[in-house]
Symmetry: C2
Subunit: 377 residues, 2 copies
């Protein structure tokens, strides 16, 4: 078992990349003496290794990096059928892929994970021995212990202690998390927000998800509901939403909503790209739909910037490009609706992601727990 200091050390390397002992000592507020011992222990444990040497004045410094294969994690995404299941290392590199049939019975899910586990673990000689945890991403609300699903419409769950069930079946420490929050953690650990303490992720797909990192920690909210941007009212008195109210961001800017609006206008297109093509040809209806969606999402993001002043907004999407009307309007709407003094101060980054995003996010939940230790969050 690792000590808190050892975990801290692993975490800052994970955040900042290779560092010399002296740099780490300064960052953690420890003496060089303490760092010397910590580093030695972690090198002996096979978790750190010396990389390059940096020459300056005085004795050169030797930078230490994580040994990415010092721990392995399983990630399962319960968002699709079949449910993707991956094996990843501490860098978020996907070592192996698999899948399990989706089920609404938690025991069946646990059994399926247990069944699929050996195959995945066989793909790396150390994986079995160094498996450190299982993470599961799902659509819905998760409690603060990250063990129980409080509510999931998609899975029709209410207070399901999924983590415990899987853990008992597989014998591996297991945590669950909301889909968007898992993606945020994966961006913090593996992605482009590694060294950013305050940022928000917006996942744009059939639905719209959002999650916040605050002071370097995932902020889950008082009921685990932080980031439910999809049901912010963005068009007061607008179209009815499946949630029961009207004018939710979800009803205008989700890819599902865009598709439905497109169909209602007689388009047969299934993707954003097709609609963008129509818009670029000058089709007024296509332009209207994209404009409406882009400005709605832009306004929501601007409000998020005003309220939380994050250091980065990261929009992930699976659909085609963001170079068209939708992306342009979105960015314009963000700029137009933040305090002019702040306009352009908050980077809004768009990242195209592949189908692994949710499973990788799930694995990152386990990796995060590995780096920060138990009984923390």
């Amino acid at each position: 078992m690792l000590t808190p200091s050892q975990r801290q050390l692993l975490r800052i390397i994970s955040e900042s990349g290779p560092l010399s002992r002296t740099e780490m000592a300064q960052m953690l507020g420890l003496s060089k003496a303490a760092m010397s011992g910590l580093a030695r222990d972690l090198i002996d444990l096979g978790m750190l290794h010396e990389t390059d040497t940096v020459y300056g004045q005085g004795r050169p410094s030797v930078r230490l990096d994580l040994y990415p294969e010092c721990a392995f994690f399983i990630g399962v995404s319960l968002l699709e059928e079949p449910a993707p299941m991956i094996l990843s290392d501490l860098n978020g590199k996907i070592i192996a892929r698999g899948s399990i049939p989706l089920s609404r019975d938690p025991a069946v899910v646990a059994e399926a994970i247990a069944q699929a586990l050996p195959d995945l673990l066989d793909s790396h000689p150390d994986a079995r021995e160094k498996l450190a945890g299982i993470g599961i991403a799902l659509s819905g609300f998760v409690d603060e212990t990250q063990a129980n699903c409080v509510q999931s419409t998609l899975l029709n769950w209410q207070d399901v202690p999924l983590a415990r069930i899987v853990q008992e079946r597989c014998g591996i420490e297991t945590f669950i998390e909301n889909d968007a929050k898992a993606v945020a953690v994966s961006e913090k650990l593996f992605g482009s927000a590694r060294d950013i303490q305050n940022f928000s992720v917006v996942t744009l797909g059939d639905g719209i998800g959002c999650a916040h990192f605050i002071d370097g920690k995932l902020y889950r909210g008082n009921h685990g509901g932080a980031g439910e941007i999809a049901h912010c009212t963005i068009e007061p008195g607008g179209s009815p939403c499946r949630c029961g109210k009207r004018g939710c961001l979800d009803t205008v800017a989700s890819m599902k909503a865009v598709r439905e609006m497109a169909r209602a206008e007689g388009f047969s297109c299934d993707t954003l790209v097709e609609l963008e093509t129509e818009a670029s040809k000058g089709n007024a209806a296509a332009i209207r739909i994209l404009h409406r969606a882009g400005s709605a999402l832009g306004l929501a993001i601007a409000n998020l910037i005003q309220m939380n002043d994050p250091g980065l907004i990261l929009i992930t999407h699976v659909e085609g490009s963001f170079d068209g009307l939708f992306g342009t309007v979105l960015k314009q709407a963000v700029e137009a609706n933040v305090l002019p003094r702040y306009a352009g101060q908050t980077p809004v980054r768009v990242k195209r992601v592949d189908g692994d995003i949710w499973a990788r996010g799930a694995a990152s939940i386990a990796a995060h727990k590995f780096l920060i230790g138990p009984h923390t969050n």
Copy 2:
């Protein structure tokens, strides 16, 4: 100087009220042995004292409470002319009041504070000896060290190192903070949000301020701008705001905006109460104004709930009552615009405050620093 553990102990008592040593040991994750020593030291230092005895099975537990007069704090509000300046104890009780002339010259402010200091300190025999810090609240943006005012329109400041200037003149540790954030800290330390880890404060007055506590800590945002709810776009394409954009919450729901709208409609009334009276008589224009303001603020708060899922929204106001149309519409708008599943889950509390609010908030900044220690936030 206090150790981190001692500060932690003071903080949990400040949050939860009197606690027994065993309870505190559990809350802090320490052994009874460690707690025994900590408590003894703090009692010897005159910061803690034993209060009542709680009888149950086994040996009764003796609860420990803060000795509120173990530390004193100065709070200055640079929001009014003259600027109120108070002396408070660790419970937020105001021991003495004074004021200084407001100036845009930081050196003049520092000099005025230094001049007014002796009089305030004379009002309590221990105050001089136990003065632990000066807090200053101002309208504007403050950097993360809480020493520099990055920008203040009201004071016409840009990058003014006010805390250092005052500290050098007075010889007392000094911190500055944005007005709404100071109020949030004061509600966390002294007020009704003591034991709540995640909450947001909305200060309703001539302007609208807002600040968030997240995971028991004030969240300042990446540029110190978290909580700038006043310039969320709430009426797209609405009235122009002095910030340069349109439809900001500030242009519809601030008391200043309400007054201006009332004047534009030919009302001569100066306060919310008068407009409420008109509305209760059935005056359509008054009703329209109040409805518009209440629903705008309600929508903004609902969006805040959706985005951050706080455990409490605390609205502070100086104006008359919230029982009229404005308050009713506000609460309805909140309920109508949060996810129906969550409606009513987030308590929205309204608190009438007096003119001491800003100065007390300022003092709480110093008290907060005292409780959490230097080089932390």
